[in-house]
């Protein structure tokens, strides 16, 4: 993708300034600035765009425990920060430029839906993104992609203008150098090539980007199975995600690879080449067909079996380094779907946590209803809609 950027810059320079180097320099400067911003502020920007809130262990003990377990299992040195996003859709993502400045975020909707084993699987997946520095890789890639898209977009617009107003000779200064027939012919060829490149470059860049992203997703799934020693947990979590169709509120194309599943959930778009994530159904099948162990080698074997291919997804070196790891069974109440009661309690717990964090006040009315009052209404009288009793909020 870097080569594409250099190429595009050079062509822009050639067309507008009769000087490939100038365009190249402009492209590199834009890319450099965006990279620096992404490197130092990327996680903050992403977290604030997503509306994430940092939580402490007392807010949600189980989530904190599970993250700590995965931190130990993956051998991370520093405990990542944990954020919650108040959003009913189901998703989770990792941020941070390196393992020492990392965070995992999860939507309140997902936290409600998952049991302990499933949560562990999802967190294991995110911790793998942190451990393998995927966040840095993918944000650098997306900045590169972004630069290419922006440059080609504006350059193609400007060239159109140039083509229309410059009488078809070419944009900008190019028009003034029309002194020989041969030069004009070469200019037209360059112009046509440039326009072609402007159209094709963003497409190619995206395809490369998507391919990298998908590969990292498989690796994160494999690592999650390795850390938790229980691939069925992640598989079952992904099944729950599959059922949900609610798109994430604040996702953009650039932030998509950070999520555990594609936040757009466009069911019509099943085209494998243009997706940041492998199809969920396939990820589930691979995890479900892991037999005999939770090591990378077992995942690789399951991958080949499901994809019916001879080329694995995990390099033999890392597969060998991870050795053999046995599977474990579910924790109590794991594999069988827990009774509705558990599901209700979990939802109430997570919602009540969100209310606490947003400074809501809870009033218990004698009629059996509970009223949860936002800060803006506190201090006024609230009538219980059920029995009509008035309460001082």
């Amino acid at each position: 993708m870097g080569a594409l950027l250099v190429f595009i810059g050079w062509f822009i320079g050639l067309v507008f300034a009769a000087n490939g180097i100038a365009g190249l320099v402009i492209a590199l400067i834009i890319w450099g600035i965006m990279t620096l911003v992404a490197y130092f502020q990327g996680d903050n920007i992403l977290l604030s765009v997503a509306g994430a809130k940092k939580i402490s262990p007392s807010d949600h003990q189980q989530l904190y425990d599970v993250v700590e377990e995965m931190k130990i299992a993956s051998g991370l040195e520093k405990m990542p920060d944990i954020y919650i996003i108040d959003d009913p859709s189901l998703n989770a993502f990792a941020t941070g430029r390196d393992p020492n400045h990392a965070a995992v975020s999860i939507t309140s909707g997902l936290l409600q839906k998952l049991n302990r084993d499933e949560l562990q699987g999802v967190i294991g997946h995110e911790i793998s993104h942190i451990k393998h520095r995927d966040v840095l890789l993918m944000s650098m890639c997306s900045v590169l992609l972004g630069t290419i898209v922006i440059l080609s977009f504006y350059a193609s617009r400007m060239m159109m203008f140039g083509a229309i107003f410059g009488g078809g000779g070419g944009g900008g200064r190019r028009g003034s150098s029309k002194n020989s027939g041969g030069g004009g012919g070469a200019a037209i060829i360059i112009l046509v090539l440039a326009i072609l490149l402007m159209i094709l470059a963003p497409l190619f860049a995206q395809l490369i980007y998507f391919a990298i992203s998908r590969k990292r997703e498989y690796l994160a799934d494999a690592s999650s199975a390795l850390y938790t020693r229980y691939p069925a947990g992640l598989a079952s979590a992904l099944e729950k995600l599959e059922q949900s169709t609610t798109p994430v509120k604040n996702a953009t194309q650039a932030t998509a690879p950070m999520y555990i599943v594609n936040p757009f959930r466009n069911k019509l778009n099943v085209n494998n080449l243009t997706s940041t994530h492998p199809p969920l159904e396939e990820r589930i099948r691979i995890l479900r067909s892991m037999a005999g162990g939770a090591a990378y080698a077992n995942y690789d074997q399951a991958y080949r079996q499901v994809k019916n291919t001879n080329s694995g997804i995990i390099s033999p070196q890392s597969a060998a380094a991870a050795g053999t790891v046995g599977l474990r069974a579910a924790v109590a109440g794991g594999p069988v779907e827990p009774p509705v009661d558990d599901k209700v309690s979990r939802t109430r717990d997570v919602n009540d946590m969100m209310y606490r964090m947003n400074d809501y006040k809870t009033i218990e009315c004698e009629c059996g209803a509970k009223l949860k009052v936002p800060p803006s209404m506190q201090g006024s009288m609230i009538k219980c809609p059920r029995c009509g009793r008035a309460h001082q909020a």
Partner: protein, 189 residues
């Protein structure tokens, strides 16, 4: 004259080799110690949790005494073993404790009241998490031990190890009973 130079070069090379392998060994041994400290933290945490757990469960009438006593006894034994400094004895005792705890958790399933108790649920979550952390840090510890032991045994570092008395470390082998039960059936191809 040139013999002197050769001798000096050989001596310097030898010293460099000594220096390198010694540092490598120290490094690996420190990694093992670090990993051990990680397990130790979690094991101690488990000792602290058990009295609370026993206290909470005891309040429920007709709760099986034997199961509770087994847990208390196993905890005392494990704590005694922890002062001995012998990894083998310790891992056996801790394995016993894990077994007793998982039996207790099975018994608990029969008491729906207990499962509705907020205090108990919080303890249960903490215990589950501690068990997980023990098993994950044991894996990390054993990996470090394997690497260190390989270093100690392999030529030529083994000479240096012998000179400075680097001994093999013991793995925390005893898989907890819970792990044994959880082991998936072996598939043979």
């Amino acid at each position: 004259m040139w013999i002197l130079v050769v001798v000096i070069v050989i001596v310097v090379l030898l010293l460099l080799f000594l220096w390198g392998s010694y540092n490598g060994l120290v490094n690996a041994r420190n990694q093992v110690k670090n990993a051990w400290a990680q397990i130790d933290v979690q094991l101690k945490r488990r000792y602290d949790l058990i009295p609370n757990l026993v206290e909470t469960v005891k309040g429920y009438k007709n709760f099986e005494r034997d199961t509770l006593e087994a847990v208390t006894k196993a905890r005392t034994a494990a704590q005694t073993a922890s002062t001995s400094g012998d990894v083998g004895a310790r891992s056996a005792a801790e394995g016993e404790l894990s077994g007793a705890l998982s039996r207790l958790m099975v018994v608990v399933e029969k008491y729906p009241d207990l499962k509705a108790n907020q205090n108990f649920l919080a303890l249960q979550e903490e215990l589950t998490s501690t068990e997980n952390k023990i098993s994950f840090s044991r894996q990390a510890y054993n990996d470090e031990v394997l690497q260190y032991n390989n270093k100690v045994q392999q030529f030529p570092a083994t000479i240096v190890a012998g000179m400075f008395n680097f001994k093999k470390e013991q793995e925390f082998l005893q898989a907890t009973t819970a792990d044994v039960e959880r082991q998936a059936p072996k598939v043979s191809f």
